[in-house]
């Protein structure tokens, strides 16, 4: 038997015409934490989903504990001791924590589920690894960090000794992440083998024994932690050196463009109701909103842009009260909006690049005259924007569904920024896009600010917030917990505020 508990070689996986994994290699030693890193879309999640049997492989070989796996499905994977904590939690919201943990492996007593013995069993793991969870709460009532612990307990209950964690820290505050790391280290000491998928290099450097890199579906090699550095890993991940630190200007902020006064907004989730929020954005500055996803960022932006009803309070844009205007009127009053979900609100995926580029100004000159659209003027405009924002492919008559995430996002950014509105709202502008597009998008926001626009930026990436913003507003459970100048902000003081704590000076 080899030294590896898992070994995957020559893996190929295609979805339709897309080759998600062109050549995948991965192996895992007993008792190690092995990180799998790469950019979005590099195929790291897919590799691990193949190991967990979520999809069949096209070709290649998977060996688990010396046994070749011919047909792998989640059930077989679980039987061979493989557990996976998915990026999007696989928890049923309306079932209790306990029900979720035992799902699929329920202990029984006669005809009924034996909840008592299940409870005892689960408590064992809670005590052993210090993972506090509330067994009788529904998933919809617990925090993200707790839900993640539920997921880990789930894998342990199923007898996993190989645990895959798919970007586990993406949804956590720095403090919660540290707590997770303690749990992971305990698991490693107990002889479990862990796969840690991430693209955050500092975390990877902290926790791994070995690191494997993937780029565009290709295996790019494995290194021991001691023999590498974040810079070395970056080069392996993207194939060139990229410096994301943009040239930040500290212009003089001008008069107030946006004023949000004691706004109360409803939401679908308990934690993200906006309860009395006030903030302002001036001309020529970027105000960043930091917070863990789901703490009211989306609802605040929806309220400002007229998509969600403001229950109390007011929103003032350029001195004009726009509270509860419809989205079109809000835009007319001087607002541009890069929405957080480009596929839902940013683009019409079945329509062409040019149609999407002119969509919000279709009724204005030169794109239309009276009732008729001016196709030639639209084309000229599209050609110019495709060049300016480096949108690929350059054929602007292609439907936007043909574009990669990064290029699709560039279309949205191009449309919104080019109007030169006094207020630009950018919600998760670089979510799920490649490094090249991130660079272009960030520089575009910086340029809009230099030209005098007020920018309100929401991002789940703290690094993005810190490097772009002039001022940072932190929100937690629908309330502002603090405001900092970007120059004094760091992961620690922001993280504390994101948890709802007061900043300690």
């Amino acid at each position: 038997m080899s030294e590896y508990v898992v070994s995957m070689s020559n893996i190929v996986k295609t979805f339709g015409t897309v080759q998600a994994v062109r050549h995948g290699e991965f192996n895992l030693k007993k008792g190690e934490i092995h990180s799998l890193i790469g950019e979005n879309g590099a195929g790291k999640s897919t590799m691990m989903k193949l190991l967990y049997g979520m999809y069949p492989i096209n070709s290649g070989e998977i060996i688990v504990k010396g046994k070749k796996m011919d047909r792998l499905d989640p059930k077989t994977a679980i039987e061979h001791g493989i557990g996976m904590v998915h990026q999007e939690f696989m928890l049923v919201e309306e079932l209790t924590v306990l029900e979720n943990i035992i799902l699929g492996f329920e202990p029984t007593k006669g005809l009924t589920i034996d909840f008592d013995s299940a409870r005892k069993e689960v408590q064992k793991y809670i005590d052993q690894y210090d993972m506090e969870v509330q067994l009788d709460k529904k998933i919809s009532q617990i925090s993200v960090g707790e839900a993640q612990r539920v997921e880990i307990i789930k894998t342990l209950m199923r007898g996993a000794d190989v645990i895959i964690l798919d970007e586990p820290t993406a949804v956590l505050t720095p403090q919660e992440a540290r707590r997770l790391f303690e749990i992971l280290k305990n698991l490693r000491e107990d002889g479990k083998s862990l796969v840690f998928i991430s693209h955050k290099l500092d975390e990877v450097m902290e926790i791994s024994n070995r690191i494997s890199v993937m780029r565009q579906g290709q295996y790019m090699g494995t290194v021991n932690k001691e023999e590498t550095s974040p810079l070395d890993l970056t080069k392996r991940m993207i194939g060139r050196e990229v410096f994301l630190n943009i040239d930040k200007s500290y212009g003089k902020a001008g008069k107030t463009v946006l004023e949000v006064k004691d706004v109360w907004v409803s939401s679908n989730k308990e934690t993200s109701k906006i309860r009395g929020m006030s903030l302002h954005v001036n001309e020529g500055e970027i105000v960043g909103i930091a917070g863990i996803d789901g703490n009211g960022q989306s609802e605040l932006i929806e309220a400002i842009t007229g998509i969600r009803k403001v229950e109390k309070g007011s929103v003032i844009l350029n001195g004009k009260d726009i509270t509860n205007f419809n989205p079109k009127k809000v835009r007319d009053a001087g607002l541009a909006h890069i929405p957080e979900d480009r596929n839902k609100r940013g683009l019409n995926r079945t329509m062409s690049i040019v149609d999407n580029l002119v969509a919000v100004q279709l009724d204005e000159a030169p794109f239309s005259k009276g009732m008729m659209v001016q196709k030639a003027d639209q084309d000229k405009y599209a050609e110019e924007k495709v060049k300016q924002f480096d949108i690929r492919p350059t054929d602007y008559n292609l439907p936007t569904s043909a574009l990669s995430g990064g290029n699709a996002q560039k279309v949205v950014v191009a449309r919104e920024v080019s109007m030169g509105k006094p207020l630009l709202i950018a919600s998760q502008p670089t979510r799920g896009v490649d490094v090249g597009a991130i660079e272009i998008i960030r520089n575009t926001l910086e340029k809009a600010k230099k030209e005098g626009a007020g920018v309100l930026l929401v991002s789940a990436e703290l690094e993005e917030i810190i490097s772009l913003s002039d001022r940072i507003v932190v929100i937690h459970e629908g309330k502002i917990t603090g405001e900092l100048m970007a120059s004094e902000a760091n992961e620690n003081n922001l993280g504390l505020l994101m948890m709802g704590g007061k900043e300690s000076k």
Partner: protein
């Protein structure tokens, strides 16, 4: 109007309790049929059709074999077969629930009409003394007791059985392994899949089980509630069942309570007819109640949701 007020004691009296339950029973069966698939997140628009095929099969088989037991069993089997059209169409080929459900309903209407003509040479309806009905349970010891006697002493076996079924399903959904998996499959299939559960298998099981109950609903209608087959005799009870299922959120007990409301409207309507209320209006009653019940339950749900989501509390 005057006549109604004068005779109020004849309209609302003890016998109305059984009348309500009697009218509600076929709807309860239908609603439970819809509730089972709903737990697996399959809206069972075809309940009506499953039921109608069950009703015809029960009468035909009971007539030829002379046994209500065989008739009911055959109806349940026929229900499973029809339900499988929905199951395969929806689960395997991803067909829309409403489209395939309506298709099944139309198919059921046509095929029962056709078979009625081919097998019995009849149009419209078929009844015969040769049809063996589901027997009634006469509780002699209760017949002398004043109020209880009137309410309980003459129920059909199927009417007793529906009460057992409600309790059994409540237990099945919320206390057993299959129920937990069924609910997980309905609410978040990906989570069930990663727990090693075969999602489609559970869905097929739910559809087949619902087919059995739907067939039973039809058999009760044609062998218990009455002893005949009439074209389109379900007259939208399947849809009322679906409405009640919504009202009760697919919970067997709450769903059945919703059905009692329909039964009540139906039996009060029937009594009002004797006192000069136009029959068209009386026939409208159950449907008006359906719309009212659905509107009210949706409105309550929405306003509760709105209140829960509001930032002002």
């Amino acid at each position: 109007m005057g006549a109604i007020i004068e005779n109020l004691d004849k309209i609302i009296n003890v016998s109305l309790i059984y009348a309500t339950f009697r009218s509600a029973t076929p709807i309860i069966f239908a609603a439970l049929c819809a509730a089972i698939t709903q737990q697996a997140n399959i809206l069972n628009v075809g309940t009506e059709g499953i039921m109608l095929v069950g009703a015809f099969t029960a009468v035909a088989v009971s007539y030829f074999t002379g046994s209500w037991v065989v008739g009911v069993a055959a109806a349940m089997l026929a229900g499973v077969l029809i339900a499988m059209i929905i199951g395969i169409g929806h689960i395997k080929y991803g067909a829309d629930n409403c489209a395939i459900g309506m298709g099944v309903n139309m198919l059921a209407l046509a095929i029962t009409k056709f078979l009625l003509n081919v097998v019995f040479g009849m149009n419209g309806s078929f009844s015969s003394p040769e049809i063996d009905p589901i027997p009634r349970v006469k509780l002699e010891f209760l017949s002398e007791v004043p109020i209880l006697g009137e309410i309980f002493c003459n129920w059909s076996i199927a009417e007793w059985f529906v009460i057992i079924l409600i309790i059994a399903l409540q237990f099945l959904f919320y206390k057993t392994v299959w129920g937990l998996r069924l609910r997980a499959v309905g609410q978040f299939p990906e989570a069930a899949k990663t727990a090693g559960i075969n999602v489609n298998k559970i869905k097929y099981q739910a559809v087949a089980f619902a087919g059995m109950i739907g067939g039973l609903a039809g058999a009760h209608l044609s062998l218990g509630y009455s002893t005949q087959f009439v074209e389109n005799m379900t007259s939208n009870r399947g849809f009322m069942g679906v409405a009640a299922m919504y009202f009760g959120g697919a919970n067997p007990v709450f769903t059945s309570l919703g059905c009692l409301l329909f039964g009540f409207a139906d039996s009060v309507g029937a009594r009002l007819q004797a006192y000069g209320i136009p029959s068209q209006f009386v026939l409208m009653m159950p449907y008006i109640v359906t719309i009212a019940v659905l509107s009210v339950s949706m409105a309550v749900k929405l306003s509760a949701n709105k209140k829960r989501q509001s930032s002002l509390n």
